[in-house]
């Protein structure tokens, strides 16, 4: 355990280091004054945003994999992505341009869409039985497919400028955000991750077997409900800040599990840290690789994360029982 705590602390350090390295790389050849402007008003918020979103997605992914006891689960599996996407698309198509607490209508609609969809999927899952995993997954998949179809329909009738905005959002976009949104979002995500961490010993037993967990004195339904609500909430926050960034929530928890084992007391904080680092790096790559243009960060997460994950899988596959 001590080793785990030490690793935990040193990783907090390494996150800051990678953050600094990314910043220095950005500013190797620039004059001081605009440099500062760029650094404080564009780069720092952006890097912080990437860290918040990455941590939220990775922690939510780890939690949902435990709750659904399914290694294929990710934060979007229960329909959050399509719900948020539908909200965002509607906002773009309707051409709304008011703001709510400094947030664009896209973000507000995306958040509402995400929360609404999760509620819908949860309700359907409940009707099919007491936290019946298969029912919940099927409800998620079907709702996802249905909402995606509506998004496709809306896109096919949209004008080209709207189309571009929507597509860019759907591919994940860590654009500029003001400090208030960052503080609020970061606060929500941090509280959420701490809450999930508190539940992590119980998540261990539940991910092993919910019935056994009950006979070990764990209030399984309550833990499942709390963990589900918290992970859905931080995912919705992340999505409304940045659009749909895929792959982080699936690949980061698995990589951490392959390297450090499935104990959620390590897995959750480490996933959050690695998720934050991964997305910061991926975003930096997205900004630099085709400069001055920018790639959607979702493209980079999949292109970098995919091969990296396969490499880990091949090297450490003996540790993983679900491959048998």
């Amino acid at each position: 355990m001590l080793a785990a705590v030490l690793a935990f602390c040193s990783l907090i350090g390494s996150q800051k280091i990678s953050l600094k390295a990314a910043l220095v790389g950005e500013h190797a050849s620039a004059v001081p004054n605009p440099d500062y402007e760029i650094l404080v008003h564009i780069r720092i918020p952006r890097v912080i945003l990437a860290a918040i979103v990455g941590a939220a997605l990775a922690a939510a992914g780890a939690t949902l994999q435990a709750l659904l006891r399914n290694p294929l689960a990710d934060p979007y599996i229960l329909g959050i992505s399509s719900g948020a996407g539908l909200g965002a698309t509607l906002a773009v198509i309707a051409g709304l341009n008011w703001t709510l607490w400094g947030r664009s209508p896209i973000a507000v609609f995306a958040f509402a869409g995400a929360v609404g969809t999760v509620w819908l999927v949860w309700t359907i899952g409940r009707i099919t039985g007491k936290f019946h995993v298969t029912g919940l997954l099927l409800a998620g998949v079907v709702v996802n497919a249905f909402f995606s179809a509506i998004i496709m329909f809306l896109i096919s009738v949209a004008r080209s400028q709207q189309l571009h905005t929507t597509m860019f959002w759907l591919m994940g976009n860590l654009g500029e955000e003001d400090f208030f949104a960052l503080w609020a979002g970061g606060g929500c995500v941090l509280v959420g991750i701490v809450a999930l961490y508190v539940l992590s010993p119980q998540l261990n037993a539940i991910s092993f077997n919910p019935t056994d967990a009950r006979s070990m004195g764990i209030r399984v339904e309550r833990v499942q409900f709390l963990a589900f609500v918290v992970s859905a909430f931080i995912t919705a926050v992340a999505v409304s800040l940045s659009g749909l960034i895929g792959f982080v929530g699936l690949v980061v928890p698995h990589s951490v599990r392959l390297l450090f084992g499935p104990d959620h007391r390590q897995l959750l904080p480490l996933s959050a840290l690695f998720g934050a680092m991964f997305l910061v790096v991926a975003d930096t790559v997205a900004r630099v690789i085709v400069a001055p243009a920018q790639l959607p960060v979702g493209v980079v997460t999949a292109m970098v994360g995919g091969p990296f994950f396969l490499l880990l899988l091949v090297r450490y596959n003996r540790k993983v029982s679900w491959l048998r």
Binding site: M1, N70, P201, S215
Partner: protein, 292 residues
């Protein structure tokens, strides 16, 4: 001896029209090794789940150490009862040590980490089940028999006076079956724990258990009651010392299958004889072909 588990007039049904357990009243004294035997669907697992508080009876009460199961807090009940089912491989690659420590979750401090006492309990449980050499191995890498011993170690680490076993030896070969029963018997004697085990193996039960509970399907007994027109009707179960309950007549009655009973030393053994079994054919009815 003080009663450890008591059931009073317990009725349970998953669907209203089809009762699984009807009016079950029994007392399991502490420190006994009870075998629960009966045909598939008779309600053996239901009975175990009622004792473990995973199901609640529609009527009647189940109590442990004199207190009704429904009034226990989950964490307190987990200090009374541990449950072992058939072994399986979990979805994620937990190691033996991580799994056995999981049993201590109900005892963890507010920070969610195990203390020294928890690790000592887990280490002792691993030692008792002779699985200490697997500590850091992933569960998936063990054989089925080894894994079942680890599941028993987890139940021991939970440090409860009562152990419930739901068919702990079903897919094991005879050597591993015997190892599990030897282990359970040792635990019963050395640690004076109460063990309640569902089993399909009447012979192992006859050799190892002190008490036996023979359950019949509730729908069967209902049919028999109607046929016999008896006033009180037949009881769904028989319970008593294993050597009294496990006899050919009662087993035939419960399973509806012919049984040959023999004796070895103090215990009996039972050989089921179906219609086409060699020995059944040679001594009773001649085969169908000769009749024609």
């Amino acid at each position: 001896m003080s009663p450890s588990v008591q059931m009073q007039k317990v009725c349970f049904a998953y669907e209203r029209s089809r009762p699984v357990l009807r009016d079950v009243s029994l007392t399991i004294p502490s420190g006994t090794f009870l075998a629960v035997i009966g045909p598939n669907g008779a309600g053996k697992s239901t009975l175990i789940n009622l004792i473990a508080g995973l199901l609640m009876p529609q009527s009647g009460t189940v109590s442990i150490d004199g207190t009704a199961v429904r009034s226990y807090r989950p964490a307190d009940l987990a200090r009374k009862i541990a449950l072992v089912r058939q072994e399986y491989v979990p979805v994620f690659g937990f190691s033996v040590a991580e799994m056995v420590l999981m049993a201590r979750t109900a005892y963890y401090g507010p920070l969610g980490f195990e203390g020294k006492a928890d690790r000592e309990r887990a280490a002792k449980a691993l030692e008792m089940t002779d699985t200490a050499q697997f500590t850091s191995r992933p569960l998936a890498s063990l054989s089925a028999g080894e894994r079942q011993r680890v599941f028993i170690a987890r139940a021991l680490a939970q440090d409860t006076p009562i152990l419930l076993m739901d068919e702990p030896t079903t897919f094991l070969d005879i050597r591993h079956q015997v190892e599990v029963y030897d282990l359970l018997k040792t635990i019963q004697i050395n640690e004076s724990r109460t063990i309640i085990a569902i089993t399909q193996d009447v012979n192992l039960a006859a050799q190892y258990c002190d008490q036996a509970l023979l359950l019949r399907s509730a729908s069967d007994t209902e049919a028999t009651t109607q046929l016999s027109q008896g006033g009180s009707g037949l009881c769904q179960y028989r319970m008593g010392p294993a050597h009294e309950i496990l006899n050919a007549e009662y087993i035939e009655e419960a399973f509806g299958v012919g049984v040959f009973a023999g004796q070895v030393g103090h215990g009996h053994f039972f050989l089921p004889l179906g219609r086409m079994a060699k020995d059944a054919i040679s001594d009773s009815t001649p085969p169908a072909k000769e009749q024609a």
